[in-house]
Symmetry: C2
Subunit: 348 residues, 2 copies
């Protein structure tokens, strides 16, 4: 109890060096595994470190090396299963490569996002994976690559920015979904999306419109619903679109929360699925197979989306300085029981 110099601060590499009877430089080499150290000294230092309970200070290390082995991840809301899955994909790949993940929720708010990016940069993350909230050229996003911090865009692209991106072909996926419904004879197809059109939803809307056009169906604006981003609002819009004089016979939703709302809305409106109304959801969550009928969906490789983003970022950190690449992953259209032939009285 007599040799305590600092009461409750961690021992430093200097303390270890002193205990082992070597210089700090040598102790650092022994513990850091770089440079040349004789086996005898290495063991002596290791023993001293063990005995003192030495833990390296990454902060000091990062100051010198210029790398923190930390990547920033900015998503809208980790509570949303889509982002949770993507985050898991990111974390797994990052962790395997010795990186940790600093997580921030932006709630789709550009101001929050901007502040988050700034904070993450001040913490000197080695790179950033971000699902950008706004599609306008965020100066805060362009700034980092210029300073040498690579960015990978997750799920959404920002036109003006020079950065890698991992996305799916939302336009094509949506067009395909509409094609499926058209093939079943539907002509009154509603779109249920959320207000404040984020990039992916814009693309899905575009795909919806293209799908209609390909089928020669005129757009009915009353069938395009942009709900507040809550389950209850989605339910209301669904009930409303099913209560039209000429109601929708099919509903295409643009994400998992809207799918949930559409499903519940059909239940609440007392419409049989798929006899009276077909539903196509976006994202394949666990529940889609235990509801009755099970949900037809556009499934995204969500986990892989995150994993690919992390791999891309790691490649940049490893020195890849080629031109920005956009990687487009494939979606899968899974037909289940929630889509069926359009009701007879509503077609032709």
């Amino acid at each position: 109890m007599s040799r305590r110099e600092r009461p409750r601060s961690s021992p430093t590499i200097g303390d270890v060096a002193k205990a082992a009877g070597v210089s700090t430089a040598t102790a650092a080499r022994a513990l850091g595994g770089y440079g040349a150290v004789s086996p005898a000294v290495r063991d002596r230092v290791a023993a001293a470190a063990e005995q003192l309970g030495y833990r390296r200070n990454s902060l000091a290390r990062s100051m010198i090396t210029g790398t923190t082995h930390t990547i920033g991840l900015v998503v809208a809301d980790i509570e949303n299963p889509f982002f949770a899955r993507a985050a898991r994909g990111v974390a797994d790949v990052a962790h395997a490569a010795g990186y940790e993940v600093l997580l921030v929720n932006s709630d789709e708010d550009p101001a929050t996002e901007r502040a988050a990016v700034r904070t993450l940069f001040e913490k000197r993350v080695d790179g950033l994976i971000i699902a950008p909230a706004s599609t306008d050229v965020g100066s805060h996003l362009g700034e980092l690559p210029k300073r040498g911090t690579p960015i990978v865009l997750l799920d959404r692209v920002v036109p003006g920015i020079e950065a890698d991106a991992i996305v799916v072909d939302n336009e094509r996926a949506a067009r395909g979904a509409i094609g499926h419904l058209v093939g079943l004879g539907h002509r009154r197809i509603a779109l249920l999306t959320s207000q404040g059109l984020i990039h992916t939803n814009q693309m899905r809307l575009a795909g919806y419109l293209q799908g209609l056009e390909l089928a020669g169906i005129l757009v009915d604006e009353r069938l395009i619903r942009m709900a507040e981003y809550t389950r209850e609002a989605a339910v209301r819009e669904t009930v409303s679109v099913l209560a039209l004089d000429d109601p929708a016979t099919a509903i295409f939703t643009t994400d998992n929360l809207m799918s949930l709302g559409a499903f519940e809305g059909a239940q609440r409106a007392g419409r049989a699925v798929p006899e009276e109304v077909s539903i196509v959801g976006f994202d394949d969550l666990e529940w889609t197979t235990i509801v009755r009928p099970p949900l037809t969906v556009v499934a995204q490789p969500v986990n892989e989306l995150g994993a690919a983003a992390a791999r891309r970022l790691l490649a940049r950190l490893a020195g890849d300085d080629g031109p920005p690449r956009t990687l487009t992953l494939e979606t899968t259209f899974i037909v289940r029981g929630s889509t069926g032939p359009a009701p007879v009285h509503a077609t032709g």
Copy 2:
């Protein structure tokens, strides 16, 4: 283009000071908002910082101040909605107080957890919130508080450790759920939980046993199922427990994944819920109200669990050094359509 000294490294406070014609100490005071600086100098420094695009280096700052404004969060799996919600609760409270969250998945693996705790400590997080995988006295957990890094246990307690904990009364919740089923006349009540009993599940098992004992029901070990932690395994165990000569008339599950499996298992076994088998789930997720029948559940205040953990940790960081406290939050028992009277032929 002529005055660039470092090509693509961020300007330092020294660069700002030089540009503003003051010392680094003064520039630091002006930008850091501490000490005394004259308004004129403050403006001059701010202008120089703005013009150079100065961003403070938190690493260097943390070295001096000894605080990183970062907290570590170790959960089993961020993809699990339970942890995603808790993480959101943590992140919101932390963010409001100016803290960021470093997230690690442990996959319930003690070795991974141990390594994570070590890494987080090396990165000098100010504190740690952890849902510990193992209930044995983790030396890696005891270590940190001794070094002055506070820990808050989330959702699970570790008996030997001196740390705050935020939990729910799992024993009582489980006992109550069993009581509900007993009250409906059930005497063949199965328990569906997962292998490698984590702390919460041990408590829920204990509550289950107590519930049976209170009702004077003898334990039938064939009704206690510990599935591999996958949906498919949960389905199999459910089908199996419903295929007994004297099958279960009710199933109580110990978490949301097991609930999903039980629900699907009943479907696959062709048993009507609740006419032939009642189901009580643990955790109230979005899907529980859109399946038919909707699920009776023990609902936990998951988000609040995380938020409370963060508040507790912040209190510690603010200097609270009272004895460790365990905060027990209330669960809610929500009766929906998945529980009903026991089938006549199976009772008394």
